[in-house]
Every structure is written in C-alpha cells, then in structure tokens.
Amino acid sequence: MLSIRDIYFRHKGRKEDVLKGISFDAQPGHITTILGPNGSGKTTLFKCISGLWKYYKGEISFNGKAIDKLSPRKRARIFSVVPQEHEPPFPYSVFDVVLMGRASYVGLFSTPSKRDYEIVEEAINTVGIEKLKEKPYTKISGGERQLTLIARALAQNAPVMLLDEPTSHLDFRNQINVLKKMKEIAVNRGLIVIMTLHDPNLAGLFSDKVVVINSGTKIAEGKPDEIITESLIKRVYDIEVRKSSIDGKSMIFPVI
C-alpha cells in the first residue's frame, strides 16, 4: 500500500502553498485517479509523488516505510513513471526505449544484461506491441507511444506505476485502448496505479478510486460512482451536469 500523508508544497520564493495537506492511500491491483481542473494542483501532486519535486512537509510511505529521501536509483525500483508522450531527439527503436526502463538495474559502467533483454521482451508482450519492436519511436502514433512508455514502466519492475494524463494526446479509440490495457495490467500484476485524468467519465469508467482535488486541497475521495455527483462537479468545475446510468455505469453529461 502506498500512503500519502499531509503533503504540503510551495514553489521556490513563493508564499502561498500549492498543495495544502493532501492525504490518500492507493491499493495494489487498483487504479487510483487524481481528478481536478487545471491549476488545481493535480500535476504538482503528481510530481511530488514521483519524486521530481520536493514537498516541504508530509510523508509518503510504501508498505509502511517512508520513501521521501531515496536516491533516484532506489526510488525508480519502487515507482515507475509514464510521462506524457513526446518526441525524443534521436529515433530510437521502440525496443531501445523500453530497454531504458532497466536503467536503475544497470550499473553505471555497464550495459543491459541478457536478463534485462528478457524482461523487456516480456513487458513488450504484456502490452501487446510486439509488432512495433523494431520501429523508430519517432515514427509511431501517439497511442502506440503511450503503450511503449507503459511497457517501459513495466520493464522497470516497480510495484507502483504513475501515469501523467495518459490520454491527453490520444484520439477516442486510443484513450479507451490505453486505459483498458492499464486496467488489465493493474489487476494481473497487482500494481498500485496512480494516474491523473481530465475527463471525469473516463476516471469513473476505469478507476477503483478517485481523489478529487481543487485549489490544493482534497475535496472528495472514494468510489467513482459514489463521489462523482452533480453537486461535486458544480463545486469543482463550476458547470451544471446531469448524472445518469447506462448498463450499470454512471456517467455525467453537461447541461447545454
């Protein structure tokens, strides 16, 4: 279990806090989604959990052990991060990109071992991108890149996977594909998955737990169909929505 306790963050030289004491837990085999409008502190919280930014108060612990002061190498063995898809400066093959996930296991003066190559093959098969292996990462679609980055995170063999808006650059079909794949992987591997999303409906369809934040504080936390309500959306996003249920899944849609 990953527990985030009372995280406070402020930017250098600023007086006001961006995060004002956020706490929640994330369970293995579950997808926990952080939901909130632009400027809510969602991305800041994500960067604090992934260790890129330092919070000045609070504690994050994994299975009861505090992990606030780990070296990058040790941290990378607990957390894998799937960034938003992007273009690297050199046209590495998909396989080479996934292989980078092994960086925290490969010594400074060494190159990946046979075992590393096997783990990468397995990660590629799990995500189902075998056909892309030899293709340049710069020449594949946005959805394929996101899957490649998920495979890379898997190759990292870390118990916690963090995804930063994994659907933001994708078309509708790829959004669903990527999230379905993530759900499957989280359950099969018993991973603690934490992601940020923009769309409350996608969050509702694919998450086991939603943490809603606004202005740096937690507004609500719980099962998506219980907490994503008309009044919550009004409060957080300031728009009118109606909630309905189709095939047992609750959805919200805006009143226009």
Partner: protein, 333 residues
C-alpha cells in the same frame, strides 16, 4: 546488413591508416608498408636500414596514430555531448570547448610555461562548457538554439582572449601559436603519441563503458531521473571525460572543428541511434575520418595544409545540410 556496416566502420581506421602510410611525397609501396610494420613488431625477418623504414616508423606512423587518436577523441566527445544535451547540432567546437582549451594552451605557451599544457587546456575547456551550459539552461532543460548560441558566445570570448595572448606574446612564440591554432599534425612524434594515448584513452574509455546511459540521458532531465539516473552526477562525468579527451587533443594539434559533429551523424545514419553501438562506431569512424583528412591535407599540395581547414571545408556545408534537413524541428526543444 547493419552488422556488416558496423563491421566495416569498425575496421575502417586500419584500412585508412594503411593507405595513409604508403601515400606521401616519398613513394613507398603498399606491400613495403606491411613488410616494415611486420618487421618492426614481430621481427620476423631483417630488412636492413632502408630509408623507407625511417619514413614509415619515425614520420608517418606517429602522425597517423596521433591523427587517429585525436579523431577518435573529438568524435567520441561529439556523440557524448549530442546525447547529454539532446541536441544533434553540437560538438566540442560549437560549444566552445575547443576555444577554451586553445586559450588554456596559448597562455601556457605564452606566459605560464611552467604549467603542463594539458592541464591548463583542460581547466579552460571545462570552464567554457560550464559557461555555455549555464547560460543556455532555463527551468531545468537546455533548449537547442540557446545552447548553440551560448556556445557561439563562449567561443567568441575565448577566441578574443587568444587574440590578446597573441598580441602580447613574444614574436618568436607567436609563430608557433598561430600555426598550432590552425590545427595540424605536421609536428607529430612518438612523444605526442604517448601523451595522446594517455589523455585520450582516459577520457574515451570511461565514456565507452558508460555509453548505454547516454540513451537514457538523452530523454531529458525529468524522465532520466524517473528512470533512476542520478542526472547531475552522470552528466558531470560525461562532460568531464569528453572535455578531458578534447583538451588533450587540442593541446597536441590545435583546433580541429566539425569532426565531432559530422562523424556521429554519419554513423547514426548508417547504423542507428542506439548509443551502445553508436559510441564505439563513432570512435572508429572518427579515427578513420581524421587520418583521411590529414592524408588529404599533406598530399593534396606540395606543402602541408593545416587539417583544420580541410575539416571546416567539409563540416560547414554538412552543418547547413543538417539544419535544412531537420528544418524547424532542429531548433525546437
């Protein structure tokens, strides 16, 4: 296909070196070159004191080896800098490292002759790359265009400093500084080869061992950190080792630009961007390229043209080609 190409690139320095040994003002047959080399290394048979032997062993061989080592160093530094700065358009020359090293050498030759020339070259080379990097860095990332611009600035500054040294220095020393600055292997001897071997290898070997991490570092600061890389430490190591190799090379043969830009690009086109193969093949190809350029510079006309002129004449058009091909993207993040 890739394997065959890699193999040919890997062997290219030997082939080019052999050609370089029999070409020159004094004709030596290709076979005689092999005979002399075998005689010198294995002592299989006696060929006596023929003039060819002195020309090959005392004049051409140290020059070819030195050119090879310097080419390997510059090309290795080029591929390393391109990787850590995520910028296909940089090399030690563009980032001002060569100019910094040249300034270090010039003040040593001019005024501080008690200091080892390689030491001052290294100090100022490190200083120049640190300035170029610090100027270009904003919000944790180094964008492409600012890095090239800051390299130009640093280069211009140290070139001006060299000019001051030239202006103030004793006229007898001036001539050697001027000639050396143009970049040439005409003063090669076995002593220079020994220095080059020591300095260049102590920079190139660690980079060769760490080469796979260049893949990870080239993904950017935040991503490399999330993948478990101690980015500050590793970047510093790469900068330090590549600067060491460049500083030693510059101290021995002056400023030779563009090699570190061109060679890694050509290798990348032929065998792909994975640094695991790119680094060793760039080292090989850099050696071959430099030996070739130096052979051209000493055989093209009846006198020795500084090799820096040859590399600049090929490098500048190559840079324009890269810029045009990459278009807008080359200047983005």
């Amino acid at each position: 296909m890739k394997g065959i190409r890699a193999f040919l690139i890997f062997l290219s320095p030997l082939l080019v070196a052999w050609i370089a040994l029999f070409l020159g003002a004094y004709g030596v047959t290709p076979l005689m070159v092999i005979k002399i080399l075998l005689n010198e290394t294995l002592h299989l048979f006696e060929i006596g004191d023929i003039p060819e032997k002195a020309i090959i062993i005392d004049i051409r061989l140290p020059r070819v080896i030195l050119a090879g080592l310097v080419g390997a160093a510059l090309s290795c530094a080029g591929v390393t800098l391109q990787g850590i700065f995520r910028n296909p358009l940089v090399d030690p020359f563009i980032l001002g490292i060569s100019a910094g090293a040249a300034f270090g050498c010039a003040i040593t030759v001019g005024f501080l002759s008690f200091l080892p020339i390689q030491f001052t070259a290294f100090v100022f080379a490190v200083l120049s790359v640190m300035i170029a990097y610090a100027v270009a860095r904003t919000q944790g990332e180094v964008s492409r265009l600012p890095l090239i611009l800051s390299g130009v600035i640093v280069s211009a500054f140290f070139t001006a400093m060299v000019s001051i040294v030239k202006f103030l220095v004793d006229p007898h020393k001036l001539q050697s500084i001027v000639f050396w600055l143009m970049g040439s292997f005409s003063l090669s001897d076995w002593k220079a080869v020994k220095i080059a071997l020591l300095g260049v290898l102590s920079g190139v070997i660690p980079i060769f061992l760490m080469r796979w991490r260049l893949n990870v570092l080239s993904m950017g600061e935040e991503e490399a950190k999330a993948l478990g890389v101690n980015i500050k430490r590793e970047r510093l190591l790469f900068i330090g080792f590549s600067t060491l190799a460049v500083a030693v090379a510059t101290s021995l043969c002056g400023i030779i630009g563009w090699v570190g830009l061109m060679v890694p690009h050509l290798v990348r086109m032929l065998t792909g961007p994975d640094h695991k193969t790119l680094v060793p093949l760039s080292i090989s190809a850099g050696a071959a390229f430099m030996i070739l350029a130096d052979t051209i510079s000493r055989t093209l006309t009846s006198f020795d043209i500084p090799v820096g002129i040859i590399t600049a004449l090929t490098g500048a058009p190559f840079f324009i080609y890269l810029m045009k091909r990459a278009g807008k993207e080359a200047w983005g993040r």
